[in-house]
Symmetry: C2
Subunit: 377 residues, 2 copies
């Protein structure tokens, strides 16, 4: 249903030129750490027995078969940029703690796919659909859809519990683990808050710029860039100046990334984005773009406001979409959002440039900011 | 729907004479620790803003307004029994870590109530029903039931994440936290395994004694008694002999508790249990009692086997229930389960008696074992 919105949680921050965050080998190292963690759970799961090992295998496949590992890569880049030494003895523990972000993300995706009634994820059936299908294929008792949802709720819980286990067993020095704790805690509390606000605003039909920006901040920016960078900095024992710079960069560029996503959701070329044109309009996504358009329409053009309110979130023809695009553009909403993207990106880059991050990390993060905010897909 | 089964997760281990596990003041202390923890999250939640603080208040009320605090009480008793000193400086940290079990339990209950489509919990609407009702009262957009479920999924996640935060911020000495970690990890992995096996067995129509016993072990015994006692022992730095004794006691008495529950679910007096007579038969609960009856019927009486299979889990009249009770009793299944309860309780008490636990802890745990396995409600 709202497949597109999910892609934001998944945040594919590339521009067709390969991974942009840190060394591509980070992806391989993160996946090796995740594989090693699942291996470490094998005995405990086997001791429970029954069908548990098989069910857990589905979680393992879900975690290992896709994703750009964006959050671990930001955390790792944040650590390197704060002076972390990949040749140091603690580097492997840091990598494991960064990789644990993928288990938090597994829970977020599995539960979000239930919430959004999404049917596919990374080219495969979503977890709840996979288990509903298994139920159907085997002709089991009860409602297949309910069964799939129930298994997916519990497997998401397991991923979340294991994320904590993975951090705890990462082998981090005590001082680093202590510095990490409050950031790890904030990140999870914030992303769950962002998700709760999102479904709450959707239900209430909230349409202010402020509420859309708040969701962008906590559901996307803080969770995807700001806190992962902060985690890396905390693990390296960075000073508060660098942490503040990372956080400003992460919040600003993360929101700019989301605003670019909003524009692509209405104006993107389907051949490039791989998503139907005007998808966000049909889904009634409460974006900043739409909020700005409504705010301007209310002030300047009651007809445009009425048209937007009665069209958004309904079955729209291609012609309807073209009309709505013109209305949104003519209201100045596109230019407004483009200005916000530019200002946020400039602020974020400014915070980064004047920080004490290493030149290599600055280069990586600058490249990422550019790709995230200027991309066409 | 399956309200009764839920009560096992909630495990009201009392016999009408007040709390039996440890000092009644433990309940008050646990609730104070939980209140203090929620207070400590206030700023972080407020900084996200929007409707987040209000939503979190519902979680706080859910956690604080009921429950016997059975798991924290077992953990605390386990700690005392292993020589923990309530006057020691670390006692408050231990209490906080024990209280965190209630946040794991909050997640388990909130998500289990979705899974079981339960409408009430502790005399109030379940969390998903509460939010669905709010949606309806406010005339919001979209499906009220789906909204309620979605909020409850995320609030359960938050409780699970916060359980870890509460342990991490409990102030435990590093050595105690290190000893706790693997037990805490095992407990969560086991209970989620038990829940997954339960819904898997229900879907597959599993009916063996072995599979029902496995669910009793991991969903009830390990989660409610065995691991909480183990957690207390680990926090106190107990030796492996005492840990083994606690675990044997917890697993045996925990399963015996569940078997007693199974008998009450079929033979309990509605005036005493407060639940409709023969509830488990109508719900088709896959208990050890039923598995034993089916095993015996398959060996001795094909007619009884056929009757059981076509009746269980259907709309049964009072007369049907009386007939099924007679069949189950005549097959010798009740006597079989009573023998299992006796043997498990004896084994558990034997492990406890010969252990190095303090006399006070032994007395408390013995009293609890008696109440849990001989109760009538």
């Amino acid at each position: 249903m709202r497949e597109y919105r999910n892609s934001i949680l998944e945040a594919e921050l590339s521009a067709g030129t390969g991974p942009l965050v840190g060394d591509p080998s980070v992806v391989g190292a993160v996946e090796a750490a995740l594989r090693e963690f699942f291996e470490s759970r094998r005995d405990m799961v086997a001791s429970v027995g029954g069908g548990y090992p098989e069910t857990v295998t589905t979680l393992e496949q879900f975690v290992l078969r896709g994703g750009k590992r964006v959050r671990p890569a930001f955390a790792w880049t944040g650590w390197l940029g704060a002076g972390g030494d990949p040749a140091a003895t603690e580097a492997h523990a840091v990598l494991r703690a960064c990789a644990a972000l993928e288990l938090v993300q597994a829970c977020a995706l599995i539960h979000d796919d239930i919430i959004d009634s999404s049917r596919t994820r990374r080219g495969y059936p979503t977890v709840h659909v996979e288990f509903a299908d298994r139920h159907g294929r085997n002709g089991w008792t009860g409602d297949a859809g309910q069964y799939g949802t129930n298994v997916a709720i519990l497997l998401g819980d397991l991923a979340l519990a294991w994320a904590d286990d993975m951090v705890r067993e990462s082998g981090l020095p005590h001082a680093a683990a202590t510095r990490l704790a409050p950031v790890w805690s904030a990140m999870r509390t914030e992303v769950l808050g962002g998700q709760l606000l999102d479904i709450g605003d959707e239900a209430r039909g909230a349409e202010t710029v402020e509420s859309a920006m708040r969701i962008n901040r906590y559901k996307t920016a803080a969770y995807t860039i700001e806190r992962p960078l902060h985690i890396g900095a905390a693990l390296a024992g960075a000073d508060s100046e660098l942490i503040d710079a990372y956080r400003r960069f992460g919040a600003d560029v993360g929101i700019a990334f989301q605003l670019r996503d909003d524009l692509l959701g209405v104006f993107g070329d389907p051949d490039v984005t791989g998503k139907p044109s005007g998808d966000d309009l049909r889904e009634g996504k409460r974006t900043v773009l739409l909020a700005v358009a409504l705010e301007r329409a209310d002030a300047e053009s009651p007809d445009a406001a009425a048209l937007l309110r009665r069209s958004i979130g309904t079955r729209l023809t291609e012609t309807d979409v073209v009309t709505l695009r013109t209305v949104i553009t003519d209201l100045g909403a596109v230019a407004d959002v483009e200005r916000r993207i530019d200002a946020l990106t400039a602020d974020g880059l400014d915070a980064l440039d004047t920080s004490s991050a290493t030149p290599a990390a600055k280069a990586t993060l600058r490249q990422m900011a550019d790709a995230a905010t200027r991309r066409t897909s």
